[in-house]
C-alpha cells in the first residue's frame, strides 16, 4: 500500500476537478455559461477547462440564463450532458420557466422517452458580503418542483463526489454550491478522491445523544461549531448533513431523532415556507412518540436578503442555534 501525500484543496478546486474529470471521462459532458471559458468563472471553478477541452466543450455564452438553460435542454435532447453555471443564485430566476416547465418535466411528459441529464450549478447563499441579488437561498423553490434533484455539498470531498454523481445522473440536478464554503479547505488527494455517500443519503457529521441538528450546505460548519460550543452547556449534539433535499433521507434523519429525542433544523433560507417546515413535519410524522420537545427551526429571517453590512444578524449563527437547543428543554418550560 502506497501512502499518498494529501494536499489541502478548496471546495472551488474540488468542484473544478470534478468538472475536469467528468469532461475527460465522457466527451458528452459540456460546460456552458456566462464567463465560464476564458475567465474560468467568477469563482474560478471552471478555470482551465476551456484551455484543456476547447471552446466547444467549455463555452462562454451570451448573457441570458433562460437561453443558457434552454439551449442545454436541446443539447441534452441530442445526447449531450450539459453542465450549466448560473453564476449567482438570484441570476437563475430568468431561467425558472425553462427549469420548471421543461427541465423538470421532460422525462415525465414524454413518458421516459426524453430524459434530460442536465446539471445546473448555482453558486448560492450568503455570507460573502455580496450586494443584493448575490446571496439568495433558493432551495425551497427548487425542492417544490417535482422532477428535479436538489443537492448541496458542505465538504470538499462531497463537493467532488456529489458533482461527479450529479453529472452522471440521467435526471436534472440543481447543484447548489455554498459560496461561503468555496474557500474552505480539506486535505485531499485530487488524484484519488475519496468515495462519498451517494446523492440522497444523509451523513452524520458528528455523533451525539442529547439532540440532533438537521442541516445542509453552508450551515453544516456552523452547526458543527455550535455542537462544540454546546459541550460546555452539557449538550452532546448530533449533526446530520442532509447533502440533498431531493431525494430526502427520512431514514437517517428519523433514526437520529429517535436516538436523541430532540431536533433542530438549521438553514439560512427563510423559515416561512422554507425547507425547515417540511423537514420538521416529516420528523414529527415519523418520530412523534420519541420526541421530548417540538422540532424547532433556526432559519434566516423572513426578509429579502439583507445588505452585506447586516447579513451577520440574518444568518443563523452559533448563538441562535444554542438558544434553540436551550429551548429543547421542553418539560422545564411547559
Amino acid at each position: 500500500m502506497t501512502t499518498v501525500a494529501l494536499k489541502p484543496a478548496t471546495m472551488a478546486q474540488a468542484l473544478g476537478r470534478a468538472l475536469r474529470d467528468a469532461m475527460a471521462a465522457d466527451p458528452a459532458v459540456h460546460v456552458l455559461g456566462e464567463d465560464v471559458g476564458t475567465l474560468g468563472g467568477v469563482f474560478r471553478v471552471t478555470d482551465g477547462l476551456a484551455k484543456e477541452f476547447g471552446d466547444d466543450r467549455c463555452t462562454d455564452t451570451p448573457l441570458a440564463e433562460a437561453g443558457i438553460l434552454g439551449a442545454a435542454v436541446g443539447m441534452a435532447m441530442y445526447g449531450l450532458r450539459p453542465v450549466v453555471e448560473m453564476q449567482f443564485d438570484a441570476f437563475a430566476y430568468p431561467a425558472f420557466e425553462q427549469l420548471i416547465s421543461h427541465v423538470a418535466k421532460m422525462r415525465n411528459r414524454t413518458r421516459g422517452a426524453m430524459p434530460l441529464p442536465i446539471t445546473i450549478r448555482v453558486p448560492y447563499g450568503g455570507g460573502i458580503g455580496g450586494v443584493e441579488h448575490h446571496s439568495d437561498s433558493s432551495e425551497a423553490y427548487y425542492m417544490a418542483t417535482p422532477g428535479l434533484h436538489v443537492v448541496m455539498p458542505a465538504t470538499v470531498s462531497d463537493a467532488y463526489g456529489l458533482l461527479r454523481e450529479a453529472i452522471a445522473s440521467d435526471d436534472p440536478v440543481v447543484f447548489l454550491e455554498p459560496k461561503r464554503l468555496y474557500w474552505s479547505k480539506d486535505s485531499w488527494n485530487p488524484d484519488e478522491p475519496p468515495a462519498v455517500e451517494p446523492i440522497g443519503r444523509a451523513v452524520v457529521r458528528r455523533s451525539g445523544r442529547s439532540a440532533t441538528l438537521i442541516t445542509y450546505g453552508p450551515s453544516v460548519p456552523v452547526c458543527l461549531e455550535a455542537a462544540e460550543a454546546a459541550r460546555a452547556e452539557g449538550w452532546d449534539l448530533e449533526v446530520v448533513d442532509l447533502r440533498s433535499l431531493v431525494p430526502f433521507d427520512d431514514e437517517t434523519v428519523a433514526a437520529s431523532v429517535r436516538r436523541t429525542g430532540r431536533a433542530v433544523v438549521v438553514h439560512e433560507s427563510g423559515g416561512f415556507g422554507g425547507p425547515g417546515g417540511e423537514i420538521a413535519a416529516r420528523v414529527t410524522e415519523r418520530c412523534f412518540h420519541h420526541l421530548e420537545a417540538p422540532v424547532l427551526r433556526v432559519a434566516g429571517f423572513d426578509i429579502p436578503y439583507p445588505p452585506p453590512m447586516l447579513e451577520r444578524h440574518h444568518l443563523p449563527g452559533v448563538d441562535r442555534i444554542l438558544d434553540a437547543v436551550g429551548r429543547l428543554q421542553w418539560e422545564a418550560q411547559s
Binding site: 451570451p62 433562460a66 436541446g74 435532447m77 415525465n108 413518458r111 422517452a113
Partner: protein, 389 residues
C-alpha cells in the same frame, strides 16, 4: 457659443474609428411577402411538389375540421385549430429531411402529423391522455410546447449539439406572432446567431395572439425585420401560398445546412377559426375580415394553380378528398375509444430512480387501487376518512 466651446481647453479623446461590422441590407426582408401562386413563377414549379402539397393541405384541413368536431363531442379537452394556416404546417413538415428536427408549438399538431406522426398520438396532449403521446426521437418531433417560445432555445441547443457532433442536421422551430414578444424568442435568436447554429425559425403570423392584434403586439415594420438585429437574414412570405412557404423554408434550411447559420422566416397568414374551441373570436374581429381571408384560402390558391396547369381533374381531386376522409374516419373511430390509462404510471417517469418519498406514495396509490377493486375503499376503522390518516 456652444457648451463645448465654453469649456475651452477640454478636448475629449476621439473614439476609435467605428466600422460597421455587418452590412444590414442583405439581412433585411423584402417589403412584400414572397409569393409564387398566381405569378409567372408558378409555371416552373415541379408538378409533383404541387400535388404533394395539395394532398397534404386537403388532409390537413380535414384533420382540423375533425379535431374541432371531437372537442364538441368531448373527446378532446381543447383544440387550437390551424385552419387557414395549413400551408405553413405542411410546408414545415415537408421541407425537412428525416434526420432533421421539428420543434412545434401547441398549435402545430398538423405539422407533426404531416411529418409522419400517428394522428391519435399527436392528439394525446389535447385529449388529456398524457402530455406527449409519442417518442420524440421516432420522427424527430419535439413535444408540443404550451409555454410560448420556450421551445426555440431547445431547437438552437439541439442544432448546436448536432453540429458539434459533426451531424448534418437542421432544426426548424415554429412560433406564433404572440410568441415573438417573449424573452425566450429573443434569447433563442441571439444564441442561434452568435453560435451560427443550423436552425430556422418560422413565425406563423396569424394576426392575433388570442385576441390581441399584431399592431398591439409589435411596433416593428414586420416580424421578419427583427432578424437584422440579431445578425441573421429575415424573410417574409405569404403564409397561405404553400409553394412560396416551401421555397423560402427550403432555401433557409439549405443555408443552415451549408453552415450559413440561422434564418428568421415570417409567414403572413390568418387564423380562420378562434384561438381554440373555447374562445369567442367575434369579440375581437369582424366577419368581413375573416371573409377576406377566406378568399385567400391556401387550398383554393393551390387548386386554382393545379387546375390551370391541367394537373388536377375531378377524379384526382376526388381521390385526394377520399384519402382525407378515410384519415378522418380512422381518427374519429380511434378517438372514440376510451383510452385505458394505468394510474401507476403517475410515478413511472418522474425520475430515473424514484425517490423514497415517491415509492411511499406509489404504495399508497397501489393500496387505494386494490381497495377500490375489492370494494373495501373507505371501510377502514375510522370510516371513509380513515384512509387519509
Amino acid at each position: 457659443m456652444t457648451v463645448m466651446e465654453q469649456r475651452g481647453a477640454y478636448r475629449p479623446t476621439p473614439p476609435p474609428a467605428w466600422q460597421p461590422r455587418t452590412d444590414p441590407a442583405p439581412l433585411l426582408p423584402d417589403a412584400l411577402p414572397h409569393r409564387v401562386l398566381g405569378t409567372d413563377a408558378a409555371a416552373k414549379v415541379d408538378p409533383a411538389l404541387l400535388r404533394r402539397l395539395h394532398t397534404e393541405l386537403v388532409r390537413g384541413r380535414r384533420y382540423n375540421v375533425q379535431a374541432t368536431a371531437l372537442t364538441k363531442q368531448g373527446r378532446l379537452a381543447v383544440y387550437p385549430s390551424s385552419t387557414g394556416q395549413e400551408a405553413c404546417e405542411v410546408a414545415a413538415a415537408l421541407v425537412l429531411e428525416e434526420r432533421d428536427w421539428l420543434f412545434p408549438s401547441y398549435r402545430d399538431t398538423l405539422a407533426a402529423v404531416a411529418r409522419g406522426l400517428d394522428p391519435v398520438q399527436a392528439l394525446t396532449l389535447l385529449r388529456g391522455d398524457w402530455h406527449t403521446g409519442y417518442d420524440p426521437h421516432e420522427h424527430r418531433v419535439a413535444p408540443l410546447s404550451t409555454p410560448l417560445a420556450t421551445q426555440l432555445p431547445h431547437a438552437v441547443g439541439l442544432a448546436h449539439a448536432a453540429r458539434l457532433k459533426g451531424d448534418d442536421v437542421v432544426a426548424l422551430a415554429l412560433v406564433g406572432d404572440g410568441g415573438t414578444s417573449e424573452g425566450d424568442f429573443h434569447e433563442a435568436l441571439n444564441f442561434a446567431a452568435v453560435w451560427q447554429a443550423p436552425v430556422v425559425f418560422l413565425v406563423q403570423n396569424n394576426g392575433f395572439a388570442i385576441s390581441v392584434p399584431l399592431a398591439k403586439q409589435t411596433a416593428a415594420p414586420s416580424l421578419a425585420h427583427k432578424a437584422v438585429g440579431y445578425g441573421m437574414p429575415g424573410r417574409l412570405v405569404d403564409g397561405n401560398d404553400a409553394v412560396a412557404v416551401h421555397q423560402v423554408l427550403s432555401e433557409a434550411i439549405a443555408h443552415a445546412r451549408a453552415g450559413g447559420g440561422p434564418t428568421l422566416v415570417e409567414a403572413v397568414t390568418y387564423r380562420i377559426d378562434a384561438h381554440t374551441n373555447a374562445d369567442d373570436a367575434t369579440r375581437y374581429r369582424g366577419d368581413s375580415e375573416v371573409e377576406t381571408w377566406r378568399g385567400h384560402d391556401p387550398i383554393v390558391l393551390l387548386e386554382r394553380e393545379l387546375t390551370e396547369r391541367g394537373l388536377l381533374d375531378e377524379a384526382a381531386l376526388q381521390e385526394v378528398r377520399d384519402g382525407a376522409e378515410a384519415m378522418a374516419a380512422d381518427l374519429r373511430e380511434r378517438m372514440n375509444q376510451d383510452p385505458v390509462l394505468d394510474p401507476m404510471d403517475l410515478f413511472a417517469h418522474v425520475y430515473a430512480q424514484p425517490t423514497p418519498q415517491l415509492l411511499e406514495q406509489e404504495s399508497q396509490l397501489r393500496a387505494e387501487l386494490d381497495a377500490e377493486a375489492d370494494g373495501t375503499l373507505g371501510a377502514g376503522p375510522h370510516g371513509p376518512e380513515g384512509a387519509g390518516r
